[in-house]
């Protein structure tokens, strides 16, 4: 990942809209007086939800709201990679290319995105409707490969299913339900079960721990005796 830098073109001002203002108030109220600074991450998130990214005026506005120095807000915003410091497209697609996803074919997924959108990783389409970002482990390795569109994870994607999602986005249609695209149940194995095959509704059979222990002790004693016996 390259260094994250603030966008060169910054808007002149920023203000939370009425809805966000309301939400911000509720968030700030959660913290005791004098500790409002704790609300900095949720407020940055609100700003990003409103604008798509966190601009410098937004950071300054949040600093005023939380009675912090602007540099403190900037430190937080630049630390967390999920805060975007430059404008992104209306639909922001994040592709995980870390080890698990890569082994399961994230290269195809990236290629699908590039083919469909005509942009590379870290770029925004000219009309500003799409942007593509490569992310480090998205934390859904069991269902690799994975892409994130907004807040939703699409798992078990491949070239074709990624293309379908992007097409749907382009047409402004309802997206397929998020989660596994192959239809598997959450993180359950893709094929047959290989473990936990017992019927979970049946009671667990009783085990004789005393007998097992006796057998273990006996085997141990025998081994010791064998080792101690003079070599014939």
């Amino acid at each position: 990942m390259s260094a994250r830098v603030m966008a060169e073109n910054q808007p002149a001002s920023f203000a939370f809209n009425a809805e966000m203002q309301e939400r911000a108030k509720k968030i700030i109220a959660k913290y005791p007086a004098g500790r409002q600074a704790s609300a900095v991450i949720p407020l940055l998130d609100l700003a990003q939800r409103q604008e798509g990214w966190v601009s410098r005026p937004a950071m300054e506005q949040i600093a005023v709201m939380l009675e912090m120095a602007p540099i403190r807000v900037m430190e937080v915003a630049t630390f967390y990679t999920m805060f975007k410091l430059a404008p992104v497209g209306k639909n922001h697609i994040q592709v995980c290319t870390s080890l698990s996803c890569w082994l399961r074919g994230s290269n195809d997924v990236v290629k699908s995105c590039k083919d469909k959108l005509g942009i590379g990783l870290g770029e925004v389409t000219t009309d500003g409707s799409f942007s593509l970002e490569e992310v480090e482990c998205a934390g859904a390795c069991v269902n690799a490969p994975v892409i994130a569109v907004g807040d939703d994870y699409y798992e078990d994607v491949d070239y074709a299913s990624t293309g379908k999602i992007i097409d749907a986005l382009k047409r402004g249609e309802k997206l397929p339900p998020h989660g596994s695209m192959t239809g598997r149940d959450n993180a359950a194995p893709a094929g047959e079960k290989t473990s936990l095959t017992d019927d979970p509704t049946k009671p667990i059979p009783k085990q004789d721990f005393a007998a097992a222990k006796a057998a273990f002790e006996k085997a141990k004693a025998e081994a010791a005796a064998k080792a101690a016996a003079p070599k014939a």
């Binding site: 994250r4 120095a69 540099i71 403190r72 430190e75 630049t78």
Partner: protein, 687 residues
């Protein structure tokens, strides 16, 4: 109190002490970069790793509190290996540019790499490079060298009180910067250079000027403000290269204000290096004999009461004693060291010193600032108030215009009459002072140098009495001076004698032609236009306002060029030593006065500085003990009167230029441009 063993030595320390602090107490050295006594603990450099028995991994000793029965090894194989590893990581991204780095020779990283590092690196990839940041005219940056200890960030936030520095980004991309790369707007910004353990932040004016081992180090006292900061003057040959702070817990801890640190280049410009006499309206260089003769001719023609002397803000006690004795021998009582006409009672010491002492600020729980802007008048003292404020439970009230103080302060009103209301108890802040355990009032020169200064002094004293500021073991009546020579001047009695005139009187009389000759001992802050036709003798070190008006100029020595005694605002008598010789024909000030006295046939009774100091100590016992503050007796002072409701005007408008030295300094001129004129001057054509 937990007991623990460090390297086989048993030590008992108070709870909540860290392992590193405990080790320091018994003289066991643990290397560190991010840890600093006076800053909060960050624990991010990992250099202080030690081996603690029963601990699965090495422990960062700066952040680990001691525990009963802990057994610590600081030199075990594991500890050494851990440190070596940390050092190797630090050096991965640190450039090998020591030969061109200003920190070379006094670099913590260099020293500790020698002591704890490996002899070679194993990192063959590219080092990272970081763009340099702008931090103002005093701090040069070379951010590639930064090891991210965050000492500068913590200093700016905690001590200086200007949260403008921060660390942006994370991991390898982390960069220290000021907000939007603006200059660091603190009067203490130079201290980040001292704090930086590597060469990332270095002094801009001193860049590539000298190496530490070339410098001759002299311990001295700063005179740029009245705090009496303990300094070390580093000189090479005849030139003062830089000024650094010395540690004195009672005065400056280990901080130094920017003007005190960086105005030293002014010592090389505008110097008076030979005597001058005004002939046909033009100043002409002459010999000492001719200069003295010119003075003798004029002074012999005048009666004692038609002669006067004013001492300036940078004058040392020795020269003021000599001048006072000389004036007395000439029969004049018209002497004053209060250029601004401050209404200080020279007879009552408690009326003109910072009685609670600077360290006493840490015990205060309510402070009333009257006509003073400590941030600009005494930045180091202001840092002490902030330190107290950070502990919590401190109420600060300000009478005077709002200034950007570095702590929360309640503005009680800009005009002086609020003080009268507090004095008679009708103002709510009077109750705050009464309820406080150690209340304190700080009266500044903006309040005392007004025409109604005496009435304000009386009102302040009344506040002290009615609000319980003075009690057993605590005297919360404080005067904050702006001139380093002021308390010393009052202590040696450089104030009008019986029937004598003070500064206002002298200027008035000179204007009317009632005074023939005025002796200015480095007095540059008076309105020289008011001197009328008087014959002006100026003794000083810079060709400043006083010298421009002078008829005879006697070249004296600046504070780095003479052994001198200074008394700071709290009445602490401190000794400064000569670091370099004065330029050209200039001489130490008291010796000039001694030589002049012989020419005037009023030879002063001392031939060396020892005899002069014995004379000072005999006249005022405070001079018998250096580095001490003698508590002053609480007596009555001030004269009740009406206080006008006009607002205070702070004496320090441009912090960076307050005296002849800083006015001659190029660095201070740059600072003035950056911080004082700043936005005012920049127009569209300034790029």
């Amino acid at each position: 109190m937990p007991k623990l063993t460090i390297d086989g030595i048993q030590v008992e320390v108070p709870p909540n002490t860290t392992i590193l602090q405990a080790a320091e107490q018994i003289g066991v050295e643990i290397p560190r970069f991010c840890y600093h006594d006076r800053l909060s603990i960050a624990g991010n450099c990992r250099m202080c790793l030690v081996d603690v028995e029963k601990s699965p991994k090495p422990v960062a000793s700066c952040a680990m509190p001691v525990n009963e029965g802990m057994v610590v090894h600081t030199k075990s194989e594991r500890a050494n290996k851990a440190r070596g590893g940390v050092m190797e990581f630090l050096l991965i991204n640190h450039p090998l540019d020591c030969p061109i780095c200003d920190q070379g020779g006094e670099c913590d990283l260099q020293d500790q790499a020698m002591a704890y590092g490996f002899d070679r690196g194993r990192f063959h990839e590219n080092k990272r490079a970081v763009t340099d940041k702008y931090m103002g005219p005093l701090v040069a940056t070379c951010m590639t060298r930064c090891i991210h200890c965050t000492r500068c960030v913590r200093f700016a936030t905690e001590v200086a009180g200007v949260p403008e520095l921060g660390a942006l980004g994370r991991g390898e991309d982390m960069e220290i910067t000021t907000y939007l790369e603006r200059a660091l707007s603190s009067e203490l910004s130079g201290n980040v250079v001292d704090l930086c353990p590597v060469g990332a932040l270095t002094s801009k004016p001193y860049a590539f000027h000298a190496r530490p081992w070339e410098l001759r180090k002299t311990e001295s006292i700063d005179v740029m403000d009245a705090v009496g900061t303990n300094i070390r003057v580093d000189a090479r040959g005849r030139e003062v290269m830089r000024v650094l702070p010395r540690i004195n817990e009672d005065v400056n801890e280990e901080w130094l204000a920017d003007k005190s640190r960086h105005a030293c280049d002014g010592l090389g410009y505008q110097r008076l290096d030979r005597p001058y006499v005004r002939r046909n309206g033009k100043l002409t260089a002459v010999s000492w004999e001719d200069a003295f003769d010119a003075i003798a001719v004029r002074l012999r023609a005048s009666a004692g009461n038609r002669i006067a002397a004013i001492a300036g803000d940078l004058a040392d006690c020795e020269s003021m004693t000599a001048l006072k004795d000389l004036m007395a021998a000439l029969g004049s009582h018209n002497i004053d060291c209060r250029q601004d006409g401050a209404a200080l009672d020279p007879k009552v010491r408690a009326s003109y010193i910072f009685n609670s002492t600077i360290a006493g600020i840490e015990r205060a729980d309510a402070i009333l600032l009257v006509g003073t802007d400590p941030r600009r008048e005494a930045p180091v003292l202001n840092a002490r108030i902030r330190k107290r404020f950070k502990k919590g439970g401190l109420a600060v009230g300000v009478i005077g215009a709002d200034t950007k103080l570095t702590y929360k302060a309640e503005n009680l009103g800009a005009s002086a009459d609020v003080l009268a209301k507090i004095a008679d108890g009708t103002h709510p802040f009077a109750q705050v002072l009464k309820n406080a355990k150690n209340p304190m009032i700080v009266v500044g020169m903006a309040a005392l140098s007004r025409a109604d200064g005496n009435a304000i002094l009386a009102a302040a004293r009344q506040v002290a009495d009615t609000c319980g500021l003075v009690k057993d073991g605590w005297n919360g009546f404080n005067v904050l001076h702006t001139a380093a020579g002021r308390v010393g001047g009052l202590d040696v009695g450089f104030a009008p004698g019986e029937g004598g005139k003070d500064t206002r009187g002298i200027l008035e009389a000179a204007g009317k032609g009632e005074i023939d000759a005025v002796f200015l001992l480095g007095a540059d802050e008076i309105d020289t236009a008011k001197l009328g036709k008087a014959f002006v003798i100026y003794q000083g070190h810079h060709g400043d306002r006083g010298a421009h008006r002078a008829d005879v100029i006697l070249p004296g020595a600046a504070y780095t060029e003479k052994d001198g005694t200074y008394v700071n605002t709290e009445g602490r008598v401190q000794e400064a030593y000569r670091a370099v010789f004065p330029p050209g024909d200039a001489r130490e000030d008291w010796t000039i006065l001694r030589a002049l006295s012989a020419v005037l046939s009023k030879t002063l009774p001392y031939d060396n500085i020892k005899q002069l100091r014995a004379r000072m100590a005999k006249a005022n016992p405070v001079f018998a003990g250096y580095d001490k503050v003698q508590p002053a007796e609480w007596k009555s002072f001030g004269a009740a009167g009406s206080i006008s409701a006009t607002p205070f005007v702070y004496p320090v408008q441009n912090y960076y230029m307050t005296d002849p030295i800083s006015r001659a300094s190029r660095t201070m001129a740059q600072c003035t441009e950056e911080f004082v004129l700043g936005s005012k001057q920049k127009t569209g054509t300034h790029g």
